[in-house]
């Protein structure tokens, strides 16, 4: 039986349950998904990517995936981070503006161009740039690209982040944060769906 980690908490997995036992078979993955979360949100050094920027990007990225317990968790995390509460309304408004369906985007010109799919090229609203600041505005635009149209990414997107004041190390951690959250929200969703189906099976068996 394991102590609950962040994935258990978000997916509703209880110690001693069937899913807890299955997760225990991949204990290194379980422990290191947790270490990834802690390294991103409670880092040794936040000099290149501040804690409030991390919380704001996380609330935005998860919010773009739709409403869920995970979205509420990261909104609360932003509200609880120093200087975060002041950003909450702006982030919520930008989530509403950025919502769409992915993945879409373009392939390198050639046979795969037939699969190119157009979609929203999200830009932060001019009204909210003063609240968010240049660094965070650039981060939200790039995070939206990573969430919905990662195959559109180009070298010029790195230049846009560097121009907005991001360091190369900051860009690496920022990319890891968005990519990690893309993993975490899917594991949580998958395990929650599986858990619900186990509940139904157990109930059916109990009723038989």
């Amino acid at each position: 039986m394991s102590t609950k980690d962040i994935i258990d908490t978000l997916a509703g997995i209880e110690p001693g349950s069937a899913l807890d036992a299955i997760r225990a078979k991949r204990i290194q993955a379980r422990d290191n998904a947790q270490k990834s979360y802690l390294s991103l949100f409670d880092p040794i050094d936040a000099g290149d990517f501040s804690l409030v920027e991390r919380a704001a990007v996380a609330a935005f990225v998860i919010g773009l995936h739709g409403e869920s317990l995970v979205a509420a968790f990261y909104r609360e995390k932003l509200a609880a981070t120093a200087d975060g509460a002041a950003l909450l309304e702006a982030i919520k408004a930008e989530i509403a503006r950025g919502k769409t369906s992915g993945p879409y985007g373009a392939y390198p010109a050639g046979p795969l161009s037939a699969e190119d799919k157009a979609g929203l090229i999200y830009r932060v609203s001019a009204d909210r740039k003063p609240v968010l600041g240049a660094r965070l505005a650039a981060a939200l635009e790039h995070a939206h690209l990573l969430v919905f149209r990662p195959r559109d990414a180009a070298a010029t997107d790195m230049k846009a982040l560097l121009t907005a004041g991001w360091s190369e190390t900051g860009i690496v951690t920022f990319s890891q944060l968005v990519a990690f959250l893309s993993f975490q929200v899917r594991v949580v969703t998958g395990l929650r769906v599986l858990g619900a189906s186990l509940g139904r099976t157990a109930n059916a068996a109990a009723g038989a």
Partner: protein, 194 residues
């Protein structure tokens, strides 16, 4: 970005070995410290441009690498390696990561001995018919990769009908989800080159 004019990007999905060129500067090998080597996990990864870039944040790289290794390489029980690699390849095909798809399509071919079927996934895309069991794995991976996430009870039912038990279904969920992490790093920090 100095290598930009020497990049020869592939324009199709392939099982060939590809290179990968970073758009921002990896750390020079000579500057790596013990903290960085701990992040690389395998010291030999110091030779890779991709890992020397990610090692700019060693703690996150170390945790990411150990998550990856257990999801894919721990085959003491659970889903056969071939089908974990199939989930990775299908996710990469759907998200559009030509580099990731090349690596994991090769692994899927090696472990399944179904190279032609894997190639059809790359050529025709995620709607290809690969038989009940592989179709269920591909479809579940695609549903997980969509944003908003489209994975639901029907995917669980299909995987069960195809013979997967709950632990194997968790391996599909982990493998497919992990490639939503990997694809976004490889697609956004650099590009593949033939």
């Amino acid at each position: 970005m100095s290598a930009a004019n020497t990049v020869n990007p592939p324009v199709v999905f392939t099982q060939d070995e590809l290179g990968w060129v970073s758009w921002i500067d990896p750390l020079p090998e000579a500057e790596l410290t013990e903290r960085h080597f701990a992040g690389l996990v395998d010291r030999s990864r110091a030779k890779s441009e991709y890992f020397r870039l990610l090692v700019r944040d060693p703690e996150v790289l170390e945790a990411r690498t150990k998550t990856d290794k257990d999801i894919f390489y721990n085959v003491a029980d659970g889903l056969p390696r071939a089908e974990r690699e199939l989930a990775a390849a299908a996710t990469s095909r759907y998200n559009g990561c030509i580099y990731c798809a090349s690596v994991h399509a090769r692994f899927a071919s090696t472990y399944s001995k179904r190279r032609d079927d894997v190639q059809r996934l790359l050529d025709e895309g995620v709607g290809v018919d690969l038989g009940e069991r592989w179709n269920a794995v591909v479809k579940a991976s695609v549903a997980l990769a969509a944003t908003p996430i489209a994975f639901g009870p029907d995917n669980i039912e299909e995987l069960r009908r195809a013979g997967l038990d709950d632990a194997e279904i968790v391996d599909v969920i982990n493998g497919a989800s992990f490639f939503n992490w990997a694809n976004r790093l490889m697609l956004s920090l650099g590009e593949p080159s033939k």
